[in-house]
């Protein structure tokens, strides 16, 4: 590809990317929706309405008992629930009251219907292997309730939760002389546990600190999604789980609760019709600051990006090497090896990658304590190697079979034929497929959030969950992926032209040859 063509190509790509950004901005404008809707006075008046609840939670159960003839919409996190309440897709959200109390400045248009529908009791959860820890925890909790520490913590964190940005927290120095605990936390619930300036702080982390100080423990804390945390505890990958886990009978069968730490009323949250938008520019400014500036969240995104690059990069490099070897083995030992590879090819064809990665993490490596990053690399490496093998196999087929015969007839061995004659001619059709597989892998790594790895996507979503603002985090993440994809395409195109034998100059072709010494 000539320089001119490459420039033209870059220009067109940038143009398309800008158009996409423009479309997204337009969507933002059209999201400004401030229509005044029905006003609800009490929970009873919600009868027959559309109610948003968090599926699997206690609020879900309570809501179905308290509101008559309601249509329920099930969500997996409160951010989405608030968003749909704001745009009046639902009439009310049923949640513990702290969820909206901490965010009353961000959601001036949402308010609580005062009547409590039920009480939610929460505590730490423990794996089946941490019974000793659980006993100690219960003892400690009793003591702290008695000596007023719990009251102090309650006052500190819950008296004015909307001041969450300023509540002081110093992580304690822990000796760890009696061991290290593996802690799983879903730090997306202000003020129970949340992230500020890259640090996990909150009511429960502070209590954990006190506990560990008392019993001489240190801990390793891994942040993840709520569901991943539940899974992690029920499979004993982690010892303790923190996420103000509400007590339900269902959950009690899978995980072991400590004694109750705290109670919170479950309420209905409705749209009160107040304006919430300060105008497009102000909103964007606020959104930007919340996404990147507040709490140095941009650092989190960089960290997530590095994780994504690590997993993708390692998988691509090791997977390519492994894939090449698979290819050689299939060539040299057809029959059984080919069958095995085809078998795995079909598995990857038919299995959604999310399911594959979860099976790998929770079942194949279920008992192990290897980090999610490491297991992701193993899983993706294997998957990528199968794809590389298929790409090589298909592209070798495009080389006319006579080429192999001609090479053999000259005296090349099968191996030499493959490396020096067939593969160079197959590169033309191999590289585009290879490029596609690389990009596909990059995007596939975005699901590692399901196995408790904080990659770029998960980080973006984390910010969205914490700031309750979707625009900048998601758009930023999308743009980063697009940029990475674009870079990969650019480099593969460069590689294609580099390995194109016809681009060589005569001096390169005749390297090391003196054409003047008359050969005749």
């Amino acid at each position: 590809m000539t320089k001119k063509k490459l420039k033209k190509y870059i220009f067109i790509e940038l143009l398309f990317t800008l158009i996409f950004i423009g479309i997204f901005l337009c969507l933002l404008v059209f999201n400004q929706n401030n229509e005044k809707g029905q006003k609800f006075k009490n929970p009873a008046s919600l009868k027959g309405g559309t109610i948003a609840t968090w599926s699997g939670s206690l609020s879900n159960q309570i809501a179905s008992k308290s509101i008559e003839e309601a249509h329920f919409a099930f969500y997996t996190n409160p951010v989405d629930m608030f968003q749909d309440l704001r745009t009046r897709k639902v009439d009310a959200c049923i949640l513990p009251s702290y969820r909206i109390k901490a965010l009353k400045n961000d959601y001036p248009d949402l308010s609580i219907l005062d009547q409590s529908l039920g009480m939610s009791q929460t505590s730490f959860i423990f794996s089946d292997k941490s019974n000793e820890l659980r006993k100690q925890f219960n003892e400690f909790l009793e003591a702290k309730k008695a000596d007023g520490t719990m009251e102090m913590l309650e006052e500190k964190w819950f008296s004015n939760p909307s001041n969450y940005a300023n509540i002081p927290y110093d992580k304690a120095q822990l000796s760890g002389e009696n061991g290290t605990i593996d802690v799983a936390i879903a730090a997306d619930a202000i003020p129970y546990e949340y992230i500020r300036d890259g640090q996990i702080i909150g009511y429960e982390p502070e209590f954990l600190d006190l506990f560990c100080q008392e019993y001489g423990y240190n801990y390793k804390m891994q942040n993840m999604q709520f569901d991943a945390m539940l899974m992690g505890i029920s499979t004993s990958k982690y010892d303790i789980g923190l996420s103000n886990v509400e007590y339900t009978e269902e959950r009690a069968q899978k995980v072991n609760y400590g004694s109750f730490m705290r109670e919170e009323p479950i309420v209905a949250i409705v749209n009160n019709g107040n304006p919430y938008s300060k105008g497009l520019i102000e909103d964007l400014k606020l959104s930007f600051s919340k996404t990147f500036i507040v709490g140095s969240r941009w650092k989190g995104l960089i960290h997530g990006l590095l994780i994504t690059l690590l997993i993708s990069g390692s998988s691509i490099i090791f997977g390519s090497i492994q894939g090449y070897f698979f290819f050689l083995w299939t060539k040299n030992y057809p029959g059984i090896f080919k069958r095995i590879i085809i078998f795995f090819s079909n598995i990857f064809l038919g299995l959604p990658i999310v399911v594959f990665i979860m099976i790998t993490y929770y079942i194949l490596f279920g008992k192990s304590r290897l980090s999610g990053v490491f297991i992701s690399i193993i899983a993706f490496t294997f998957m990528f190697s199968i794809y590389v093998h298929d790409c090589l196999h298909a592209s070798i087929k495009t080389v006319p079979p006579e080429q192999r015969e001609a090479a053999l007839a000259l005296g090349y061995t099968e191996g030499q034929t493959l490396v020096h004659i067939l593969i160079p001619q197959a590169l033309d059709s191999f590289l585009p497929s290879y490029k596609n597989e690389i990009i596909s892998l990059l995007k596939s790594t975005s699901i590692v959030g399901y196995i408790a790895v904080n990659d770029l996507t998960r980080q973006g979503d984390l910010i969205r969950a914490t700031t309750y603002d979707a625009f900048f985090p998601l758009i930023t993440v999308a743009l980063v992926y697009l940029l990475l994809t674009w870079i990969i395409i650019y480099f593969i195109k460069l590689l294609l032209s580099y390995v194109n034998p016809k681009r060589r100059k005569p001096s390169q072709i005749l390297k090391g040859i003196d054409t003047n010494s008359d050969p005749l």
Binding site: A406, A409, L410, H420, I509, L510, G512
Partner: protein, 380 residues
């Protein structure tokens, strides 16, 4: 041409009781022969009789079902014989030239030398340049195969094989895939190879090539060498029946037209093939095709009511270079030279003179009561 003092020559290749069987079918059955140094053997025969299979067994691209092949003193059919070593000594040129598309012409000829014979780049270059010079391709050494014509590619393929200094060269229908205009350049090259004394086996159906380049001809049919001898013997004085028939087939051909919409195009292309095989000049070839078209389709068929019965015969004698065209037909006499179709008549008379003759009398000619010969004008 090469001399044939067999008794004093060394044996380069010996084939002994070679058989290739695909189930019941045996394209090669208990074949034995010896190839002497400087021999250039043309292998001819009907299609599908295993000519290519035989060639491919010599460098073991196909494995024999039974029998032995000896290259010099070594038995190459022995189990465990390193095939890539064998192929360094046996060069092969394919019908479809098969140059490596990712290398330039010079690299095609150098690469195997460097990688397999461990020659230095300078040595390999010199040897490749030498061979390319002999096939007159030195102006194209930095070109890629897709920039060359078929004839040029085949010449490079020959140079590539020879740069490896093989003991014997195998050519599998080297001109079959070529445009007629390019056939002669490759034939010239092959002729020069035999002049150089390169030991080779050429599978071909081009009589002209066989005559010009070989000192021995094998006629293959029924799985074995049916008859062998010098080109003069095989083509001009074949001894055995099948040989005679085969050779005749490339020297006399008849076309029978029994209905008005006969396959005209196939007949024209058969005339073309016949003329090329018989080394008839292109001008004459085209003239014969025109004569056929004008006479049969333009002049005769329009005049015939009902089903026609016409026989067109083309006969060629290589020795005397005589060409004979004859048309016989049944039914009432037709107007040929005094036809109404002015244009067709003029074209016909441009190329030939019409002479009325007696229809040939043998059993096949029942029903023909009219005949005439077309004598090609000398000016052609």
């Amino acid at each position: 041409m090469n001399n044939t003092h067999e008794s004093t020559k060394e044996i380069v290749l010996k084939v002994s009781n070679l058989t290739k069987a695909y189930g019941e079918v045996k394209p090669i059955n208990q074949m034995s022969f010896e190839v002497y140094k400087n021999d250039a053997i043309a292998i001819i025969g009907p299609s599908g009789t295993g000519k290519s299979t035989l060639l491919r067994m010599i460098n073991m691209l196909n494995t024999p079902t039974s029998g032995q092949i000896f290259l010099g003193d070594e038995e190459v059919t022995k189990e465990g014989y390193p095939l890539n070593k064998l192929r360094l000594k046996v060069g092969m040129v394919f019908q479809s030239y098969t140059l490596f598309s990712h290398m330039t012409v010079i690299e095609n000829c150098m690469d195997a030398q460097i990688k397999l014979l461990k020659r230095s780049r300078q040595e390999a270059y010199a040897r490749a340049y030498d061979e390319l010079n002999k096939v007159h391709m030195t102006d194209h050494i930095l070109k890629y195969p897709d920039q060359l014509s078929g004839g040029q590619k085949q010449r490079v393929a020959i140079a590539r094989a020879l740069a490896m200094d093989p003991e014997i060269l195998l050519l599998d229908e080297p001109t079959s895939a070529l445009d007629p205009t390019m056939v002669s350049e490759v034939e010239t090259v092959i002729k020069s190879l035999s002049k150089r004394g390169i030991t080779m086996l050429i599978v071909t159906h081009e009589m002209r090539l066989a005559r010009a380049a070989s000192n021995r001809v094998f006629f293959l049919t029924g799985g074995s060498i049916y008859e062998e001898g010098s080109p003069e013997k095989i083509f001009d004085n074949p001894e055995r029946e099948a040989t005679k028939n085969f050779v005749k087939r490339i020297k006399k051909k008849e076309w029978l037209i029994k209905n008005k919409d006969f396959d005209f195009l196939t007949s024209i292309s058969e005339i073309d093939s016949f003329c090329r095989d018989a080394d008839i000049s292109i001008k004459t070839n085209k003239a014969i095709q025109s004569i056929f078209e004008e006479t049969v389709t333009q002049i005769m068929l329009p005049q015939i009511k009902g089903q026609p019965l016409i026989k067109f015969t083309l006969e060629y004698s290589g020795q005397s270079q005589l060409l004979r065209l004859m048309i016989e037909y049944a039914g009432p006499k037709l107007r040929i030279t005094d036809t109404d179709n002015e244009m067709a008549k003029n074209l016909l008379l441009y190329y030939s003179d019409i002479i009325e003759v007696e229809p040939t009398s043998d059993d096949l000619n029942d029903g023909f009561n009219n005949a005439f010969e077309l004598k090609l004008k000398k000016s052609l």
